[in-house]
């Protein structure tokens, strides 16, 4: 049995115009010790998915349907109190902005110790202090600075303190939402490296949510590409990068510059993701897809399994057989942009 099994999950937000289907029928599994990357544009439902799993959806958000099985228990059936216990102890979240997750009026040490004592009653102060020291060393912070307040830390140090806190209870699952996006590249590199070694040490699994496909390429075993609340494609990281079948994955990959390549044509995916209040029938990517046909606009694509990948595109077979060079060519996409919206082109 997998550690985490998400099945047909629907997470909606109540709005004045009706429910916005932020996560709409998402299913996946996460094995113990595995790293799963979730990529996609802002608004595609990545953070909502993570918040639903850890049980911190805002008031307007609710799980409409589906299940989240974590180590055999369905999280959607638990009371809030039960879920809060699980939080930190078993599942911890590293948020994008450490400043919002750390309390400015307490020292870092006080906050970590408090988390330890709430979730593991009976842990003595001496032991808690030892954990703080150990975690600070793991993330490369000077343990003597544990008595500082968050504002006395630089952004990079705060992010590391946040990670130290998330790790203090040795969670079996870490959800990292853009953990390094706010950091400079050297700090990002160091933190990702440390997270990987800590993870190995405590054998936890991790879900990394990011817009940065290169971070996913380097840290994840498997990737889910999300688009407008749905999974577009899912599979092992090598296959997703080498031989994707979904046009959106192909486009996204080609939109990213690679520091190792001297000349490269970047591709721009024209248009915007659809409204989630009244999403289009058929494939949600159809409006922006250069390969879309009438069938795409009418019928929702089913999963297409091949080569370890799960791809939701009607034409996955054709792309595999002959259309890949066409889908991989930036001019294909740019012409589609000019044809559809006279070049407003985004």
């Amino acid at each position: 049995m997998s550690q985490l099994e998400v099945e047909d999950l629907e997470v909606y937000y109540e709005t004045e115009e009706g429910p916005a289907q932020a996560v709409d029928g998402v299913s996946f599994e996460l094995e113990e010790g595995e790293n799963l990357g979730i990529v996609g544009e802002s608004g595609c439902g990545k953070t909502t998915l993570a918040k639903a799993i850890i049980g911190i959806l805002p008031d307007a958000g609710y799980i409409n349907d589906g299940s989240i099985n974590f180590q055999g228990d369905d999280l959607t059936e638990m009371t809030n109190a039960q879920r809060r216990r699980l939080k930190w102890e078993e599942i911890s979240m590293i948020a994008q902005s450490a400043m919002n997750s750390l309390d400015p009026v307490y020292t870092i040490r006080e906050q970590i110790v408090e988390a330890i004592e709430t979730h593991r009653p009976g842990t003595g102060r001496v032991e808690s202090d030892e954990i703080v020291t150990e975690m600070f060393e793991l993330v490369g912070l000077d343990p003597e600075r544990a008595d500082d307040y968050p504002h006395q830390f630089s952004g990079g140090m705060r992010q590391r303190a946040m990670i130290a806190m998330a790790l203090a209870l040795e969670p079996s699952l870490m959800l990292a939402d853009e953990p390094t996006t706010a950091l400079d590249v050297i700090m990002q590199d160091q933190i990702l490296k440390r997270m990987a070694s800590i993870q190995e040490e405590i054998n936890s699994s991790m879900m990394v949510i990011t817009h940065d496909v290169s971070v996913v390429a380097e840290t994840c075993d498997r990737v889910i590409v999300m688009y407008a609340g749905k999974i577009a494609e899912e599979g092992p990281v090598e296959e997703i990068f080498d031989q994707p079948y979904h046009p959106y994955t192909i486009g996204l990959k080609r939109a990213f510059p690679n520091i190792r390549k001297s000349s490269q044509d970047l591709l721009s995916i024209s248009g915007y993701p659809p409204e989630l209040i009244d999403p289009p029938q058929g494939c949600r990517f159809a409006e922006r897809c250069p390969m879309a046909t009438d069938k795409c606009r009418e019928e929702e694509p089913e999963a297409h399994y091949k080569n370890g990948l799960r791809s939701y595109c009607h034409y996955a077979d054709e792309i595999d057989a002959e259309l890949r060079p066409y889908a991989d060519d930036p001019t294909t996409w740019n012409q589609a942009a000019a044809a559809t919206d006279g070049g407003v082109g985004e």
């Binding site: 160091q190 496909v213 390429a217 380097e218 080498d242 990213f256 001297s262 070049g343």
Partner: protein
């Protein structure tokens, strides 16, 4: 138009901010010693911008990229140093010459939502610079600028307000506004970092077209080296207010020489799971630019540190004998014959330097 003519020359530019003033004072209260401290945001930067080129300014946050960029378009007055434009030193320029310079030097900012006036329509936003500079043919020029920015048809955007536009469209309006005066160069400070990845290429191609079709020069400021490699002809890498390495983009990315540039480029993740990456661990964090250390600013984090010369002598950014780019580091022999060891005081002691003298470059 020849791509090699120099458009603008930046000569030992410095911009210092007094610390005990305004918002930054609260950040550094703990330093409070009575006498004013200075943030050495830009501390002796020299480079030239050539006609039709895209020059990248790279480095981590706080290294002085934005301050350099704002000084280039005279949104800051330099503390010292100068900018030479059209054979005129701006420090000695007349009001009319400054006015003309301002018309030719435009800037695009990271966050188009902040840089556009929320109460101005697209038309007025783009027309405003024309009114300030008393330039006629307003409607035709606004229309052309919006067309260039691929906001089509332009008339459809005239009466819209920034909040009615998407992030990508707002950045295009900012580009149209910057272009409407037909400037000679544009400083673009992280122009796409707030945009979704899928939309970036569209805005980037506009910047490309500026240089290709109109021969404009662009100073592209970013911390994203993958993007800079894609966009720029030449790169300048900044660290704590100084340029540490400068040269052709491919040279710097593929063959970096300064230990800081090497660490920076090594840290960039690669969007290809098959590519392994050597990871170099860098000590510590960037120091503050208030108490500037003697000698090389990178010395406390440098794995190549070679003793007194690094500790005492500021390495000048200069041509070296063995490669194309300019580097500010004592590891390499100066092409101009400068010998930094002549500026070392006292005899180097092995105990202090912590390195054996044999690791210093030979003086021959």
């Amino acid at each position: 138009m020849s791509g090699n003519d120099v458009l603008l020359e930046v000569d030992d530019l410095k911009k210092h901010f007094k610390v005990n003033q305004g918002w930054i004072a609260s950040l550094v209260e703990s330093f409070g010693s009575g006498e004013p401290d200075y943030v050495h945001a830009v501390d002796g930067v020299s480079f030239e911008l050539r006609e039709g080129e895209t020059l990248g300014l790279a480095g981590e946050s706080g290294c002085g990229k934005t301050t350099t960029g704002m000084s280039l378009v005279k949104l800051h007055d330099p503390t010292a140093g100068d900018i030479v434009y059209d054979d005129t030193r701006l420090s000695e320029a007349s009001d009319a010459e400054i006015k003309q310079f301002r018309q030719n030097a435009q800037m695009i900012f990271q966050d188009p939502f902040e840089s556009l006036n929320p109460r101005m329509t697209v038309y007025d936003t783009v027309a405003e610079p024309l009114r300030i500079h008393n330039i006629r043919n307003e409607t035709a020029r606004v229309q052309r600028a919006l067309e260039f920015a691929e906001l089509l048809p332009p008339e459809q955007y005239y009466d819209q307000y920034p909040h009615e536009l998407s992030g990508g469209q707002r950045q295009r309006v900012a580009i149209a506004r910057a272009l409407v005066l037909d400037p000679d160069f544009i400083v673009a400070d992280e122009p796409v970092s707030m945009l979704d990845v899928s939309l970036r290429a569209g805005v980037l191609s506009l910047l490309d077209r500026m240089t290709d079709e109109f021969g404009l020069s662009v100073v592209y400021i970013s911390h994203d080296l993958s993007l800079l490699r894609h966009m720029c002809d030449r790169l300048a890498i900044m660290y704590m207010g100084k340029i540490v390495e400068k040269g052709p983009t491919d040279e710097i990315i593929e063959n970096p020489q300064h230990p800081y540039t090497q660490a920076l480029i090594n840290a960039v993740p690669v969007p290809d799971p098959g590519v392994g990456r050597e990871r170099v661990e860098l000590q510590g964090e960037v120091g503050d630019v208030i108490d500037i250390p003697t000698g090389c600013r990178f010395k406390n984090r440098c794995s190549e540190y070679i003793g007194d010369v690094c500790d005492q002598v500021v390495p000048p950014l200069e041509a070296k004998t063995d490669f194309e780019q300019d580097v500010a580091c004592h590891l390499y022999d100066s092409a101009e014959g400068y010998d930094p060891y002549q500026d070392v005081t006292g005899s180097p002691s092995a105990a202090e330097t912590g390195e054996e003298p044999e690791s210093t470059p030979a003086d021959d």
